[in-house]
Amino acid sequence: MRPHSGPKPLSAGASVEVADFVRTYTLTGGRTRPRHRLRLETVLELGPGRPGPALPLECEQILVLCRIRRRSVAELAGTLGRPVSAVRILVSDLLDTRALRVPVPAADSAYIPSSDPAAGNDPSVKLLEAVLAGLKTRFPDAYPQAG
């Protein structure tokens, strides 16, 4: 049945969304801001520390996932089916206890996006050349078509 227009109680869809929102922030102890600045693409790997006691299930799952391989914040959130904002807070807790850490490229600094604010976040020429070479090696049969 189509909903009527005009004043009405919360629709079923809206209350589901509110319930999900409440559940998410129960998970994070009511916090809505992480202590660390974590981008969608920030990659996490297992660290040397031990997580604190009484860990939420989702933190355990994050550690299991990162034990298999390093994963980005976006991938963790998508795999757990939790919003990015909640996963950022959980990951931030795990960084505090050093149960997780952020790996940085071992290659020379040209492969790391510049930290110079004047250069913004633009990927370096050297990095783009590496991506191009990597794609050509991985997909030797890729052929561009004219539009």
């Binding site: 660390h36 991938e75 783009l128 990597g134 794609l135 997909f139 049969d141």
Partner: protein
């Protein structure tokens, strides 16, 4: 071409954003990871973004959710208080690892289909190599916003026309006219289901981004703050 990505005119500061708050502290970092790069796959609802990402991703595309707090449509004019609503928006995510010549991880982010969630587009595009604006020939207009967004923030992009079976094929100049593209913006045809075809689009995009990076004045003059 505007290079002022951090402070482009379209940009609105997001809640929780503090200037100068860096990444996770140095002590929490460990050397030894691959370089991580982002690519954005943009375009209207139903143009094949998930399929496109799935064609090259080593994991099945994930649908990742984010909560957005937005000013509600209705404003209480008596008190001047804006109602804020929280909506859930989902974007696609995929991953592609490259080993040669150096370990690299390409993260593929698909924009939400609805144009109204621009806040998250900025998050997805921040620091990205560039964007693929995927278009469906049956309704090119569904992808116009994506192309405009890329132009406004100065993100290199290519238009990839997803040629569904039986779809009408336009000559390249018709696509260019419809999108009002700059002459150097590449237009390619692709089949979003075919790995080699999607890989070719990514190659075109990275080549284009490389040309744009080489043309950027900052490249030759190191760290001149041109936008100041």
């Amino acid at each position: 071409m505007p290079v002022s990505r951090p402070d482009s005119p379209m940009r609105t500061p997001r809640p929780g954003e503090r200037p100068g708050s860096g990444g996770a502290g140095r002590a929490l970092r460990a050397v030894g990871g691959p370089a991580v790069m982002k690519l954005v796959v943009a375009g209207g609802f139903g143009v094949g973004k998930t399929t496109f990402i799935g064609a090259v991703s080593e994991i099945p595309p994930l649908s990742t959710e984010e909560h957005l707090t937005q000013a509600g449509a209705a404003t209480d004019h008596l008190t001047g208080v804006e109602h804020k609503t929280t909506t859930t928006v989902a974007f696609d995510f995929g991953r592609l690892s490259l080993d040669v010549p150096v370990p690299l991880e390409l993260l593929l982010f698909g924009t939400p289909g609805q144009d109204r969630f621009l806040d998250i587009w900025y998050d997805l595009a921040a620091g990205a190599i560039g964007a693929v604006v995927l278009a469906d020939t049956r309704r090119l207009e569904a992808s116009f916003t994506a192309a405009t967004f890329c132009e406004q923030i100065g993100l290199p992009f290519v238009v990839a026309v997803n040629e569904f079976d039986g779809a009408h094929r336009y000559p390249e100049h018709a696509i260019r006219d419809a999108f009002a593209l700059r002459p150097n913006t590449p237009v390619v045809a692709c089949d979003a289901r075919a790995t080699s075809s999607v890989a070719a689009v990514l190659l075109t995009l990275v080549q284009h981004a490389l040309a744009a990076a080489l043309a950027r004045p900052a490249h030759s003059t190191d760290s001149t703050l041109l936008d100041a």
